[in-house]
Amino acid sequence: MAQTNGSNILGSAIKRREDPALITGKGRYTDDLQLPGMVYATILRSPYAHATIKNIDISGAAAMPGVLGVYTAQDIVKSGIPGGIPVGWLLPGLKIPEHFMLAKDTARYVGDGVALVVAEDRYTAHDALEAIVVDYAPQTAAVNLSAAIQPGAGQVHASAPNNIAFDWEIGDKAKTDAAFAGAAHIAHLDIINNRLIPNAMEPRATLADYNVATGEVTIHMTSQNPHIHRLLMSLASLGLPEHKIRVIAPEVGGGFGSKIHHYADEALTAWASMQVGRPVKWVATRSETYITDAHGRDHVTTAEMALDSNGKILGLRVDTLANMGAYLSTFAPAVPTYLYGTLMSGEYDIPAIYCHVRGVFTHTVPVDAYRGAGRPEATFVVERMVDEAARVSGIDPAELRRHNFVQPDNFPFQTQVALAYDSGNYEGTLDLALKHIDYANFRVEQAEARKNGRYLGLGLSSYIEACGLAPSAVVGSLGAQAGQWESAVVRVHATGKVTVYSGSSGHGQGHKTTFAQIASAELGIPYEDIDVMEGDTGAMPHGWGTYGSRSAAVGGSAIVMGARKVVDKARTIAAHLLEAAEEDLVFEKGKFHVKGSPDQFKSIQDVSLQAYLAHNLPKGLEPALEATAFYDPSNFVYPFGTHIAIVEIDPATGQVDLKRYLAVDDVGNVINPMVVDGQIHGGIAQGVGQALYETAVYDSGGNLLSGSMLDYAVPKAHFLPSFETDRTVTPCPHNPLGVKGVGEAGSIASPAAVINAVVDALSPFGVTHIDMPATPEKVWRAMRGGK
């Protein structure tokens, strides 16, 4: 065991304390919970992408033995609750269509909820779905993103002409157009960012228990942010007062964004419990998650980059259509705007940028944040454009990047698209990555291989990301209907043991380990004596949860602030007990001693006991030893790095073999290197999945063809190599831990690295771009001039 006390604990690869339960089957996820009298809910879903609902005949289902109730939208309306599924991020001119918990008269995507069944057991609840007869009148569906804005396309909402949900821009159009007018080289690419399906391994699930006597409902659910779910359940869906709703996230089996959002299904389950007066469980089948979990990405983009004759980037012009799906999911409008357009400067000093984005409704599953959320899409545009710019200008891609990087002495750096980068050393990670991969030697090897009919390619991706969105006032001014601070309660018990309550809500990240490391370092109390609790609105103050790589930077910082308040109070008590002045006390390794007299001390455990006994406290001081902190950061955090992929392509089959994948990241200070590396690995796998394997496919009628794990290629172990990782450390200057974020970095950097490698490998065939995923068929055709 690593040292578990004092400052060394930050940076230690301590094994996770979460794991003994998880490796023995003792982890309790939502579907593992059973309550007395529990019954099951299922939801009937539209098989049509766009249809008028003429009639729903529930009589057959309602008459089945074991069926307790069958409900439609009309029943929810009659119950008098608001019944809404709201959007939590507003943009100027945003069209906000009504989104009700069940479709009222129109189904707008395959998967749209039409009726709700409650039955005594799982199997009966599923059987009853088959007995509901719905009379649909199918209508023209708008499925293809580019076609949906054309005249004559099916209309998703009457309130949104031409299916335009919003029309948004950032940057300076005139200045950017002027930059292009004087350019020596212009790179141009049409880029599709493929639609993805999250596939957290645990399907979404809810167990709701309404207590008729108290009027309270307890909702166990697969949530990344229980307080947000409680807030939206209260305000928009159930209409119950916020303090009468308790949302608990037990073990949660991954999220990747898909468990941020407030869906109808969880609200329906809670409402069902209110109807039948018994605990109700709903568990999505995997096929159901494919047509209900918010999808990710799905952009069609035209991008142009202007350069001078020396390869200095003069301007970047981007025009994007972003698919919203059929309704506006919780944070959907933010993803292709403030999380996308603002990142168009990448790691580069680009003097003129203009980014125009239109959000488009289609008759498909709503699209929202998925690991990286806007930043992978932006990074893919920027890093593909830099490679294309290198090609048209004849400059080596590594050198073109180096030539345009924001320099270490230019921080804070104000980009042309709103963000102010706080710190960085971009050349540092590029150089380290090139050294590890032996760049010069690779080019020799590549040239040799080509002579022998072997096609190797190397792709760079020098990325920056903006995560830990903040401060709340700025986020609010951009349209967020949420704060972005975080809470912590640091409670030192009488015996000096500690419980930390965090408003973050982990679902695989290892917070119970890393947050205890943070508290131990601050309090000087052994790591083993500190427990961390999360994910229960009944147990901790309001928090905003875990997404956007915010938990260490914002949630962890809140713990630091709470612990420092505790230490301040303990110092006052220690000074009183030692009959010394507070300013004469030194706090070291959990002990307060008088400066120069280390033998005269009170440990923080001595102090906590006295704080609880309260027999001898300084006059006027409250008993007990705990503190609550609400931490609102002053800025985003900006992790960065360079990833390199090396591929070999089989010219006979078009198969891409990912031979090496190297990541050099800078995520600031590292709390637990084992956990940080694990986050990078997982992110890379998802990004490689996007680049080579995964894509959501709809037919022209709006049927999801890739609607199960049979048809959608979640990467298997043998699809991936082992990864090589290294890092540089540039501490974040504005939070007390000096940490940045790490949860999304891998998925942000890797799609561009892999596709740049594929295009490099295919360059002898005149290929200048390939859309994701680079499947064997697509590669094979590209090698043959698109035929």
């Binding site: 979460e18 794991d19 645990e202």
Partner: protein, 155 residues
Amino acid sequence: MGIPIQLAVNGKNVAKEVEPRLLLVHLLRDVLGLTGTKVGCDTSQCGSCTVLLDGMAVKSCTLLAVQADGGKITTIEGVANGKYHPVQQAFWDSHGLQCGFCTPGMIISVVDLLERNGNPSEDEIRHGIEGNLCRCTGYHNIVKAVQSAAAVMNG
């Protein structure tokens, strides 16, 4: 109409009357309360439901409980002979899990893999666990865990 079945689950004899269509995984989870075995898909792809039936790894979402009649089942709850099976210990030591949802099925598959091939290469490991999906780890540390477990089990 219940069909009587008898099986041994983690060394204990179990006799139940079950619906003919009851899936083995639901017998284990909902009837016997052994919730360590997970359900992650409905098409036999994810492997979260993997258990040992007469020593062989099977996907318990794809077997009816009646098909397991007379069989010996080992779930994650019963795989250790002591506190942890070496494979469980290796997953912990190597950070071979994050959210933990795929982990019980993954561990059972690896126990089966190492039973058949005590010293697998990286390629054999990656192909050996192709019936189990993990969305968190990118498999990097799972591969390391399998290598480390193999080394321990080979003494």
